[in-house]
Symmetry: C2
DNA sequence: CGTTTACTTGAATGCTCTCAACCAGCGTGG
DNA sequence: CCACGCTGGTTGAGAGCATTCAAGTAAACG
């Protein structure tokens, strides 16, 4: 299995990644390293000279506000080009840390520049991947702004399931979610206590279970309904609304 | 004055737009039209074949949720490439409507495709502009998730001032903001009543005035402090934190 | 002018937060 | 091997922010 497989899997959902492009991507990787959990891989305000491709694990982008509270603005899974935007934005407006032990690949901006100079189609694919990130952001805003606490939780479960399924990291209706309730609360912009009660409500209703790191979806249809989940924005183009039963 | 001037002004903040590129952009415009206020220019779920460049006025991107509530996820000003992302995303995950009468230019996706095939530098500029949109989204999430109502208002005033100043649409510390409180409330994900009271608090404290459509910033420093505004994410690279006095 | 739209105000309800314990699992060291 | 301490999860209760409902005011429009 190739290193760029998860990324290619993601990009391929809608567009064709040619063997040549796959090779170019592979060669763009300068180095690979394993990072333990809870470690910043990009710090707020820095000017990175390379972008990070997440090969395994979960990372999150976050900002900290004056009163010390943290807001997580995105969660990334295998195959995500975590800070591709850093290639063109000169300064990082937020930090990125590992929520779990991760394997990450570094792609120097210089190589990305070369790709944009020579390979228009591949460039559009990379651009697309940042556009999908933006679409996820928009959905995140809608959730934080207008959905109830329970709906937000249901939506995220659906979204993560869909994204993980797209890179082959689901097992039937189960997937690994090794993150804490505090991290979830910071994602939704709510308190741990309230998140905990929302989780209990959904679990109690038999919509999903979450033991240890393992999430199992028990009632996909109801989750979709409660979370008002419509996978359009993920641009996956997989027949997703109906997961394998 | 050229049609693409506001866009060029925006792109130029960080990067150089060559005369040639400016000409290419100008030629990419297929047609220009004026649209009255409160009209959808892109509907949710559609598959546009052209993107919209906003020449004058304000537009907003929004989603509607099940209980009928609306969440505005972005506000656009002159010079913004309102739905450039529609070029690569196959289906619009949200709608766009005019908050005021607007003048808009249409750029067929076909021409954008040609640009990406032939002009790498210009492509990166366009890509950058979508990345800045995403950065604004992230800030929006932080605001909706973790800032107080008053802080969110203060932040938006600062952001709009900064963005309008970048395209020369401010007059000293004043600018036109012809939008309703309902629209603002939908932007912040809060009720009109509560927004109204937050506005009054800030006005009462003498931080800014808002009469008719005219906003005047009275105490920039305090606004920045309360709204925790740091313009880094806008990638403007103008000496902004200190507006002309 | 009369009507509509936007803004403002008051009061009651309720969601969400904070504070403060308490419990459970797990790794470490005695 | 078991006690301890740490982290993460759970629970209860009171406070407070934000919503809804409802009504009233002001400004814009034909």
């Amino acid at each position: 299995m190739d290193l760029v497989d998860p990324l290619v899997a993601r990009l391929s959902q809608k567009n064709v990644v040619t063997p040549e492009e796959r090779e170019i991507l592979g060669k763009a990787i300068a180095r690979i390293r394993d990072v333990p959990a809870d470690q910043d891989i990009v710090t707020e305000g820095s000017r990175p000279t390379e972008s990070t491709l997440l090969l395994r694990g979960f990372t999150a982008r976050y900002s900290t506000v004056a009163n010390g509270k943290r807001q997580i603005v995105a969660i990334h899974v295998s195959g995500d080009f975590v800070d591709l935007h850093g290639f063109l934005l000169n300064r990082m407006d937020h930090g990125i840390y590992t929520m779990t032990p991760c394997r990450i690949a570094s792609v120097p901006h210089q190589r990305l520049l070369e790709i944009t100079e020579k390979f228009p189609h591949l460039t559009r694919l990379l651009w697309l991947s940042t556009l999908i990130d933006a679409a996820i952001h928009r959905q995140w805003i809608v959730g934080v702004g207008r959905l109830s606490a329970v709906a937000r939780v249901a939506h995220l479960i659906c979204e993560l399931y869909a994204r993980l399924a797209a890179v082959g990291e689901t097992d039937g209706l189960r997937f690994q979610l090794p993150i804490t309730q505090e991290e979830l609360a910071d994602s939704f912009g709510m308190s741990i206590v309230h998140l905990n009660r929302s989780l209990q409500e959904l679990r109690g209703a038999g919509l999903f279970s979450w033991q240890r790191d393992q999430v199992e979806i028990l009632d996909w249809d109801r989750l979709v309904e409660i979370g008002e989940f419509d996978p359009t924005y993920l641009n996956l183009d997989v027949t997703l609304p109906r997961p394998p039963l």
